[in-house]
């Protein structure tokens, strides 16, 4: 196991290890390196539905490894603008590149300022995951 978990700066994180990255008028969302390393071999992703209205904290999909299912909770409120269809055939991209090719969806946020107030920045998230290590 690699003990070095990557936390990318400029992203905002949830307690449940989702990330959100504002980029112009949309927010890209996915799961963190810590989350993918805990799940290990990801074999299936249930993507959010395109055009769906979603709320921060709502279960909008799932990421599954051979052994486990992890609900995917939206870090942001808004409308699903695009989903990463490439994950249907290559879910392992979440393992290899959780902050890049492993993105899950792009969302048009409706209240980003209120959402971001409830998320952690990279520094705070780093502290959060060190408390989880045993």
């Amino acid at each position: 196991m690699t003990d070095e978990v990557k936390v990318e700066t400029g992203l905002y994180y949830t307690n449940e290890h989702e990330w959100a990255k504002p980029s112009e008028d949309i927010v890209v969302i996915g799961i963190s390196d810590y989350a993918q390393s805990q799940l290990h071999e990801i074999v299936y992703v249930e993507l959010p539905k395109k055009d769906a209205a979603i709320a921060q904290g709502e279960a909008i999909g799932a990421v599954e490894s051979v052994k486990a299912v992890s609900d995917f909770y939206s870090p942001v409120t808004g409308t699903v603008f695009e989903v990463n269809e490439a994950l249907m055939d290559s879910p392992e991209k979440i393992n290899s590149d959780p902050y890049g090719e492993g993105w899950i969806a792009k969302v048009k946020p409706s209240n980003w300022d209120a959402n971001v107030a409830k998320l952690m920045d990279a520094e705070k998230y780093k502290q959060h995951i060190t408390t989880l290590k045993h």
Partner: protein, 375 residues
């Protein structure tokens, strides 16, 4: 509470991703479940099975005793032969599945699930009443390693004093491995050819012999495998996991285990009367195999539907790494047992389409498993 350590714990701690498995510190994987699974189907993998229960049953009435607790025909065994079976309660519910090996007319080795060690020993002990038999739990005195896969015999031969190929399926024989006295059985729970090696006189507190054999197996090319692959392999082979597919509320007839219930035995055994009644009346549900025809992964506890109607629950499910399919076992009413029948599995909020398939095993036996023709 501190986890119990098995004979191979030192290796797990250094190389594996260790979890709490029924109170034991066990590796769920080393490299990953998928490569470990494939190693067993294609070459050779090894598993620490030292957490399982191992008991000697000895005495002049040991055959009568085992025929009373086990549904299979123990009296039919000859020296050096073992048999898979189940122990039932008087109502036919399954206490556990197990393998019983005959070493001699008055000495048998009984092997059962790790999670049931305390329960099974107490159950066996209670049932010795009236029989001249003595039980000795040697789980902490004897190590146990499973060597599984089409190349298992070839790999084991490299460190064995005599050719393990001489041991036939479900037979057990004494062999020296890495120079140590072992009992070697040609058994396993992956669907593949392979062996289960019992390392004698090797206390769990100082398990030097078991660790040496394990490390020697790794050196000669065996892939260490964790519990994750053990579970995906047994599911792909359509083998029952106690606690999921069978338990005290299920009986061997509905579980597809009628072949281990030997009514031709002349003597009474626990559950016999109840099981005779179930066979006569017919079962209300039966264990079937399902493969999904749409995307999704079926899991333990998910509901199975026929249109609007809930018809059963999945007992084991997951991805089959060799088949690249999602597969599951479920108890459904017997009218759904025919292969090809369409059903749906409720995955979170979606009903995902699937169909009934043969499941013991799920794979093509000409390509995988111990029956395949060796190249």
């Amino acid at each position: 509470m501190e986890l119990r350590k098995t004979h191979i714990y030192q290796y797990h701690a250094e190389h594996g991703n260790v979890i709490d498995f029924g109170g034991f510190a066990m590796p769920v994987w080393y490299e990953g479940i998928i490569p470990e699974h494939k190693a067993v189907r294609e070459t050779c993998g090894i598993f620490d099975t030292s957490h399982m229960g191992r008991v000697y049953a000895e005495g002049p009435e040991v055959v009568k005793f085992l025929d009373y607790v086990d549904t299979n025909d123990i009296g039919a065994l000859i020296d050096g032969k073992g048999v898979y079976g189940v122990m039932c309660k008087p109502d036919g519910g399954i206490v556990d599945d197990l393998i019983v090996y005959r070493q001699s007319a008055e000495k048998f080795l009984v092997v059962y699930n790790a999670g049931n060690r305390a329960k099974d020993f107490a159950w066996l002990q209670k049932n010795t009443k009236g029989f001249k038999v003595k039980l000795t739990d040697v789980s902490d005195k004897v190590g146990m390693i499973a060597i599984q896969g089409p190349k298992a015999a070839e790999v084991l031969a490299k460190i064995a004093a005599t050719d393990p190929n001489a041991i036939e399926r479900f037979n057990i024989a004494p062999i020296k491995i890495s120079g140590f006295d072992c009992l070697t059985a040609r058994t396993g729970y992956t669907g593949e050819d392979g062996f289960e090696v019992f390392i004698l006189e090797d206390p769990v507190t100082a398990p030097a012999k078991s660790l040496k054999i394990w490390n020697d197996l790794v050196t000669v090319g065996a892939e260490p495998c964790g519990l994750g692959a053990r579970d995906s392999l047994r599911l792909e082979a359509g083998l029952w996991l106690y606690g999921n597919d069978i338990d005290e509320t299920t009986n061997p007839i509905e579980a597809g285990l009628k072949w281990v219930v030997k009514m031709k035995k002349s003597s009474y055994f626990n559950g016999r009367k109840a099981l005779e009644g179930i066979i006569e009346k017919g079962v209300s549900r039966t264990l079937v195999g399902i493969t999904l025809t749409e995307r999704g992964i079926p899991r333990h506890g998910y509901e199975v539907y026929d249109g609007e109607k809930k018809i059963g629950v999945i007992t084991s499910g997951g991805v089959a790494p060799i088949l690249n399919e999602s597969i599951a076992l479920a108890y459904l009413p017997p009218e759904y047992k025919e292969p090809g029948k369409e059903v749906q599995v409720k995955i979170r909020t979606n009903l995902v389409k699937g169909k009934i398939v043969k499941h013991h095993p799920f794979y093509d036996e000409s390509k995988y498993g111990w029956k395949r023709v060796k190249a």
